[in-house]
Symmetry: C2
């Protein structure tokens, strides 16, 4: 009989993509995609480098020629002609150099500069208006920790409320809320204690720590972008290193760092060899110091350990999904990329449990016709780019592994685009074989393009039975599902019965290893062994825990198939896991929503966030046009109605000019403004068009509510109510 325990422990070759689910922490996006989507650019760069080297040789040759002519006292016109040729070659070289410079510094020309400037404009606005604040700023802050200030906090709370509506309520998911403090035992079982690491190097003199792969990556990028003199071969090598960066072992990384002579960026001191650093914040539970614990690096484990109760709660029926929103913690070695790589962040995770033999989804047809950018493995490998694809076709062609996975891809697409993520800068990228955990059936990332490149914001993975098996193994509590048969079924069961007496005689102290290896054989292996034993009487058999072959004789094991009546099927469910990096989604949303437009006087650029009402931190402002008691009273009445209607809003009764007040709230992304310019009727202004309608005072709140809740469109109310064109104001 094969034991579950042997199966699990025999599959330990997990590699360092063990945590593809956790890949929110690794910008695969960067190195991997850099390689593929730039393959055309790379070919171009290669020919330019070659061209540059050719021009250089030609210049040297021509220079020699000029010198030779001069030395030989050749006639002036001949010398002049040779010099003119030399000048031409130099100009040509300069031109190639410029072209190469443009190519290596990204997307041709000053694209990367524009991106930097755009990001700076967004980030300045976000910080100035307190969308976020570096945490503990008055104490000079801590890298990788940020506060959400008032508008940021409102945006986050709107995004989470919509997530709950769109996923939890719509799908009747079982939401849970587990603690962040987690005992070591649980994270030992999940693999985090042993494997949740990044490779780190230390400045050997100051002790400052760096991520080893970051240093190597920076070195390669710097060399490729700034050093135009490197050979085509060298450039190709550096590009290759970038492509395989995530696959390098500690030894390989260390060797490259030595080979390239990379030193500590701040001091130029020598660096230690790379060694793994666990990214979990460690702590101790209780006063004794005897119960080590960690701050959870993800919320998923809290769901897995509760599987049994949740399955029961769901009436012992599959499929069902559990969900959790909560803080997760990763003690990054040296956080970079601002809000995208932080040490504490909000995750929203779904674990959808299904019968591995039936991964259909009852609501799949509702998303099958959606069409959006998909980037399957094959296209990435062959250097193509993401293409508009009908989701249903990707599923039916088997590009997406199963319907449930496809269903969630579709739902994630709808979720992100409803929030205001630009469809053209959103793609679903399938993990390459080397990115996926060995047990995963398929995995797709929702990637959003922003000024940092394509960023993984949601991971959608079919993780098979891995997690439930791991906790079953360590806790001894079977996390399984049952399918009761309507009538008993006859099934054929493989029975492997090692004959311990014979094995003991033959293998002595190694007997246990041999027995376990025999019991761990799958059906195919076992039936082949049976056939060989019957024909030849013995067989060579590899025992992995001994690391060698042994000779198994016919009398040492009996292999057979037995028929049994079974009343139910007991199995470990597969889990399909959409995992949302909430902070990353929000940051990308900021970039996608941001634009500038000139002020009326044309003397400055005004910032606007075009948030949909769903996301906007405040839905509406109420302004008396001028400071005036009557107008203020009307404003208060409207404010009260808005409060009753549950519309978050703000009154601004300062004497600031109406144009300035509009500009201030455009910068917060407030979609509507009610301006009180009489006691009977008021105007409502829409942020992006700056169009205004006129409505009666007692209608104002309900109109705002209708457009805010999406019951009516702005176009609709625009065609219903009289238009207002302001002579004064900003418009």
């Amino acid at each position: 009989m094969r034991s579950l325990s042997t199966i699990l422990t025999s599959s330990t070759s997990v590699g360092h993509h063990f945590f593809s689910r956790l890949s929110l922490r690794r910008p695969y996006a960067h190195s991997l995609k850099t390689q593929h989507s730039r393959s055309m650019a790379a070919a171009n760069e290669e020919s330019l480098r070659r061209g540059l080297a050719e021009k250089q040789s030609a210049i040297e040759a021509q220079g020699n020629a000029v010198r030779a002519l001069k030395a030989a006292g050749a006639p002036k016109p001949e010398i002049d002609f040779a010099i003119e040729s030399l000048s031409k070659l130099k100009l040509q070289k300069a031109s190639v150099e410029k072209e190469l410079q443009a190519v290596v510094s990204g997307s041709g020309g000053d694209g990367s500069l524009n991106r930097e400037a755009f990001r700076q404009a967004v980030v300045n606005t976000l910080e100035r208006r307190l969308f976020y604040i570096p945490s503990f700023k008055i104490y000079r802050g801590v890298a990788g920790l940020y506060d959400y200030g008032p508008p940021g906090c409102a945006v986050k709370s709107n995004v989470l409320a919509f997530w709950r509506q769109h996923f939890v309520l719509e799908e009747n998911m079982l939401e849970v809320d587990c603690p962040c403090v987690t005992p070591e035992l649980v994270l030992k079982a999940s693999g985090h204690v042993d494997k949740f690491t990044d490779l780190m190097v230390k400045d050997e003199k100051t002790g400052t720590c760096y991520r080893a792969d970051h240093l190597l990556k920076d070195f390669c990028n710097e060399k490729l972008q700034k050093d135009l003199s490197i050979s085509t071969e060298k450039a190709a090598e550096l590009r290759h290193v970038l492509a395989v960066l995530d696959d390098l072992s500690a030894e390989e990384l260390g060797a490259k760092i030595k080979e390239y002579g990379i030193t500590a960026p701040d001091t130029k001191n020598p660096l230690s060899d790379p060694y793994p650093f666990n990214l979990m914040f460690q702590t101790s539970i209780g006063p004794s110091g005897l119960t080590p614990g960690y701050m959870r690096p993800e919320t998923a484990q809290g769901i897995f350990v509760n599987f049994k109760d949740l399955y029961y709660y769901n009436g012992n029926k599959l499929p069902f999904a559990a969900a959790q929103i909560g803080q997760a913690f990763r003690n990054e070695i040296s956080p970079r990329q601002g809000l995208l790589r932080v040490r504490e962040f909000t995750l929203a995770e779904i674990e959808h449990f299904v019968d591995p033999e039936d991964k259909s989804h009852s609501k799949y047809s509702e998303v099958a016709k959606l069409e959006f950018l998909m980037f399957p493995r094959e296209e990435q490998m062959s250097g193509q780019s993401a293409k508009r694809t009908v989701l249903g076709e990707a599923v039916s062609k088997g590009i997406v592994n199963n319907e449930t996975l496809g269903y969630f891809i579709g739902r994630v697409y709808l979720f992100l685009t409803c929030l205001g993520i630009d469809k053209e800068r959103l793609r679903f990228r399938q993990h390459l074989a080397n990115e996926m955990a060995h047990y995963a059936a398929d995995c797709w990332d929702a990637e959003i393009e922003c000024s940092y490149g394509w960023i993984e914001c949601v991971g959608i993975a079919d993780r098979s039975a891995y997690d439930l098996r791991a906790h079953t193994e360590k806790s001894g509590v079977p996390l399984v599902a049952h399918e009761k048969f309507s009538e008993p079924r006859e099934v054929e069961k493989l029975v492997i019965a090692p004959v311990k007496k014979e094995l003991g005689l033959a293998f002595k102290g190694n007997q246990k290893n041999v027995v376990e290896a025999l019991e761990a054989m799958d059906e195919k292996e076992a039936m082949e062994m049976k056939a060989t034993l019957e024909s030849k009487g013995e067989v060579e058999f590899y025992v992995c825990t001994l690391g060698k072959n042994v000779c198994i004789k016919k009398n040492m094991v009996s292999i057979s198939k037995e028929k049994k009546k079974e009343h139910q099927r007991v199995f470990t469910p597969s889990v399909i896991e959409p995992s949302f990096g909430v902070g990353r989604i929000i940051y990308c949303l900021y970039e996608h929503s941001f634009y500038t437009r000139p002020s009326k006087a044309g003397d400055e650029q005004l910032n606007v966030f075009r948030f949909p009402p769903l996301v906007a931190p405040i839905k509406c402002t109420v302004f008396p046009l001028v400071q005036n008691h009557q107008y203020e009273e009307v404003a208060k009445v409207i404010s009260k109605s808005l409060t009753v209607a549950g519309i978050s809003h703000k009154i601004d009764i300062t004497g600031t000019s109406i144009g300035k007040r509009y500009a201030r709230t455009d910068e917060l992304g407030v979609p509507f403004a009610v301006t009180v310019d009489s006691t009977s009727s008021v105007t409502i202004r829409e942020r992006d068009s700056k169009d205004q309608i006129r409505v009666n005072v007692d209608e104002a709140a309900s109109v705002v509510k209708a457009v805010t809740d999406g019951l009516r469109t702005w176009q609709d109310v625009w065609s219903t109510y009289p238009h207002h064109s302001s002579e004064s104001a900003d418009d």
Copy 2:
């Protein structure tokens, strides 16, 4: 000139009530109130103990008398009479003993037993229906950590949404969201690193840890309740120890533990002396190990360190409030009391910043007429109990320190009672002088009575300028507000100018201490010194940092008042802080909402949670009366309309009897059930009355929405629609 630094550092005598704001972690409720509200009971107990001792002496005397009579060969009738008297005395003693037993085991009779049984019934239901789950149960759990399962998670999310509506939106508060990981610097400034401790003792052999005050408390309670033979004096002493428990120093606690011979409860081994254990979970930020950090023990500090930005965001205007909902962590020594004392919990905190010279509140009049149970300091000290009080009267009489504090007390009352907390088991208890931090102006706790006694669930404190000053001091960033005068004002300023040369000659190495102490004098002290110096030429002056008096001569310091023109007033705002222990409120809500009623057959007790729709985890269920395709289709149509209306609900199409289905959902506190018993109309059942109305299929969702959102009452729809009386079902 007095320096801010000296003022702050000179006020270090904070005692161990330093963290009255943090007193969520200390059940003052227990020892303190036990003392006062039981003072009548205590008097009774004392007279019973005295009576018992008297009876005991009488029995001994009579026993001797009987023996003497027998020895003297007295006549039988005389002996019989004496024996009869003895028996009577014994019966009387037994009766007194019984009475005493009843008194000491709490509220007379088996009250405490009933409370235990009630709590067990609630907790069983909560655990069985997954309102909560001990975290990491399959790994045998961790004391003090709990998961919210699906219904618990929904209740929590409803409570938080209502909190946001009732406080943040209604008051336009600035909500922020700061990380849990906090660098040591910040918590050093707030005082937590040095003072956030509990006193702990260790089993000297096994190393098991206990809270010192808990052991002493258990010993005293046990002795008082189980040992009827202790003398009146001893009983009084034990009661006194319980009363002052929270004020005992480590030495005093240790001495009592030694005196009473208290040993480790599990092993009876001797105990170590008590020593402070810091309750914060410690960790390390970044890979170097050089930046110690903690998981925040409260959310408030995140707001204080952002004061400057938030004040600016609010247009540099006071008053304003900031709010935060988030996780907080306290590494309790040995958590008890189930869901009430946990190691990780959700706090919702408000910091309302006001001008210390104007603590009025613009919306105060909206709550001034509210009337509820208040328990001011005086009533507690004089052994009375909480009384129904009109809030406005408590404020105008100065019992509540100021309007803003009063306003929040009123708002908290409305918040808790809207959630379903029983008005009769909710009181506002003022902190006694010894409970309050030295800097606090006033502090009231909202206490809710549950099976564990009166539990502090919300603390509402006027903390004056303490927190902002502490962070100003440590960070060097002034956290102050400005009041611009419309025209410059002439003010008199105290100027203390120590003459360093003379002081140096007189005090040498101690000069600095003397200078600081002089500069730290307040106006009264300084003017008194000035007068004495002028009349006598010298004065005795106590320097606390030297711990002795020094002699100050006239030439050593000049003290004067100078007139200055000032254009603005710069001051540190006061902060009024309502702080909500969300998990505690929810637990009390469970107890207040729980009741049982007999099943129709009368053979079992059914559990019901009478949650208001606002709180209920699911608002409505939809049941086809019998399994039937047509009914199921109708149920699906209604379900879809409910989803559109945003009403969380559940369909149950199992063939289970309708009565069982009602019972199951009553146990989850679902307020309404739609039962499909025809294709044209359906019934809607209200949970507590079990009354049913009949409505058309297409009206069902809107009726449910109206009663759920509180737009209509059940009484209202009950009088509008035809009634339905079910013959089958449970009703």
